[in-house]
């Protein structure tokens, strides 16, 4: 349905404003990150790139602790991906393929997690984590991040497996595959792109989480926890450098999963 040209112009103007609204702050924090110490205090500022240099960024990365924090963020996010897929995908498969007693109770448990501010649960966990030796480890952080990502992974993989016809599996059984072989050879390859999207979401959830990571770490901080800790005393250009490093992977991740975004949330928000 073609719009009249006046309304079309209005529509594109509106969209241009919205696109600028999203992109401008990212552009400005990038300028801050690459503008160096002088750029940060320059007055008045130009919205064009001036005094660009990698100095501020490389100085920031060279600060003691930053590299380690980056590494910890990657480890915690990687473990979160592994745990939430390993625990969530079997559950999603069970929900998609079987009817069993307690199914609704399980769904309720998963949905219940949405009504709670989950990161807050990190508060009592500090005590148990200290006792178990999990405090101040990326592993411990990944456990609480998995609580955030797991319900999501279970719901999304459920819809994913529901979208793959049961007949494919049954055909494989007829040809002599065991259930497990049928799953590995027939279902898994078909589910792989969706699983990858789920994994990326789990990664982003962990990469971005601030509260739990800050509570559960002292020395082995993730990047978000580290930035939060130094926020008050660090100079502005370091803050912008840190903010920029946090933003870049997110932008790429959203690009990678853009096809799945709506399917995934259509299901997860049911």
């Amino acid at each position: 349905m073609a719009l009249p040209s006046a309304r079309r112009l209005l529509l594109w103007t509106g969209l241009a404003v919205l696109i600028a609204w999203v992109l401008v702050p990212i552009y400005l924090v990038a300028l801050g990150a690459f503008g160096g110490r002088l750029g940060v205090f320059r007055w008045p500022k130009s919205i064009w790139p001036t005094d660009l240099s990698f100095a501020a960024m490389s100085q920031f990365l060279a600060i003691e602790g930053v590299f380690n924090a980056l590494l910890n963020s990657l480890i915690a996010a990687g473990l979160t991906v592994v745990f939430s897929i390993a625990l969530g995908a079997p559950a999603g498969y069970a929900l998609a393929r079987y009817t069993f007693r307690g199914q609704n109770a399980y769904r309720l448990l998963v949905l219940l997690t949405r009504a709670f501010p989950l990161a807050i649960l990190a508060l009592p966990l500090t005590v148990s984590f200290i006792r178990l030796g999990l405090y101040d480890t990326p592993f411990g952080v990944s456990l609480i991040h998995t609580v955030l990502a797991l319900p999501f992974a279970a719901l999304v993989t459920q819809s994913l497996f529901m979208g793959i016809p049961r007949e494919y599996e049954e055909a494989a059984w007829v040809f002599g595959c065991t259930r497990f072989q049928a799953f590995i050879k027939v279902i898994l390859p078909l589910a792989l792109p969706g699983l990858a999207a789920t994994a990326i979401f789990a990664f982003v959830i962990s990469w971005n989480e601030v509260f739990a990571a800050s509570i559960l770490t002292v020395r082995e901080r993730t990047l978000t926890a580290y930035l939060l800790r130094i926020l008050a005393e660090s100079p502005l250009h370091y803050r912008f450098a840190g903010g920029f490093i946090l933003i870049i992977p997110s932008v790429l991740f959203i690009f990678a999963v853009r096809r799945y975004l709506f399917a995934v949330w259509g299901i997860a928000s049911k």
Binding site: F41, A115, L123, L150, F240, G243, F262
Partner: protein, 283 residues
């Protein structure tokens, strides 16, 4: 095959049940327990200390005010975005990608991005200076300018978290059959009538999910506030963090956590009741 229940589904869900039991249900009970125990017995001492804290009433007020301003604005903005995007025939994917970018950005990073814009020698002040509105750098994010700081936080939250509402609403819009609007159009319904009488009611389940998710997260707001204003703008989650990390008082931190959980649950219950859909109303 599905006729009799086998052990297989139980084996498949068992790991996640155990995990959620250990890391969701147990800490939930622990939080409540921590909050009501002091010394060696049950007591409301932690809650008393929480309530008598200097920042407490301010934190409650700020958190509620933020949620009440941010969440409705986000829904309206996301509805406007979704309506505009669905009218596109060219470049739809690209526009959607850009509009959903903030979905992947953390609250901390969002706060820092807006700090670049709003700090004393930042871009907003430079623009105002160029227009001759201000004479030199002005601080917007200090304790002396609580209103400006509040709006800065609202802007950053709108920027960051509208994308999730947009995604949920677009996913919901895709589920509404086109025939409904077409039929209404044939019967002469104006666009606004079609929107309020067809789209909005059918979008109710998605709106409910979006509202629950956003409200729960809004009561948890923390890092955006910290990045922009430090401790100049107390919020509930921030106070919980301070009591736990700086004051090392787990009991009071737990009391804050229980308060946040209670508010979140109450809000969820309200949304479930007010926005309930009867199955026969669904397409």
């Amino acid at each position: 095959m599905p006729a009799r229940t086998s052990w297989i589904p139980y084996a498949l869900i068992a790991p996640s049940v155990l995990f959620l039991g250990a890391l969701f249900l147990v800490p939930l009970v622990q939080t409540v327990w921590l909050s009501v125990s002091a010394g060696d017995g049950l007591s409301l001492e932690n809650y008393r200390r929480m309530a008598s804290d200097l920042n407490f009433s301010l934190a409650v007020k700020n958190t509620f005010l933020l949620t009440l301003v941010v969440v409705p604005l986000q829904v309206v903005l996301a509805l406007a975005m979704a309506t505009m995007v669905t009218k596109l025939d060219k470049g739809r994917d690209l526009v959607l990608w850009v509009l959903t970018i903030p979905l992947g950005i953390s609250d901390l990073a969002a706060g820092l991005a807006w700090l670049a814009l709003l700090q004393n020698t930042g871009y907003l002040n430079s623009a105002l200076y160029a227009l001759g509105i201000i004479q030199g750098p002005v601080g917007w994010l200090s304790q002396e300018t609580p209103v400006a700081l509040f709006f800065a936080i609202v802007l950053a939250e709108l920027w960051r978290a509208t994308a999730i509402v947009l995604v949920i609403l677009i996913a919901g819009l895709q589920l509404i059959p086109k025939e409904f609007a077409e039929a209404a159009e044939i019967f002469g319904a104006r666009p606004w009538t079609r929107f309020t009488r067809i789209t909005l009611p059918l979008l109710k389940p998605s709106l409910q999910s979006a509202l629950i998710l956003r409200t729960v997260l809004a009561f948890e707001v923390f890092a955006v506030v910290y990045a922009l204003g430090g401790r100049n703008f107390p919020v509930l989650a921030g106070e919980a963090y301070v009591w736990q990390n700086d004051n090392q008082n787990y009991g009071v931190a737990a009391a804050y956590a229980v308060l946040i959980m209670a508010i979140s649950l109450a809000a969820t219950a309200v949304y479930l009741r007010v926005l309930r859909t009867h199955p026969e109303q669904l397409p």
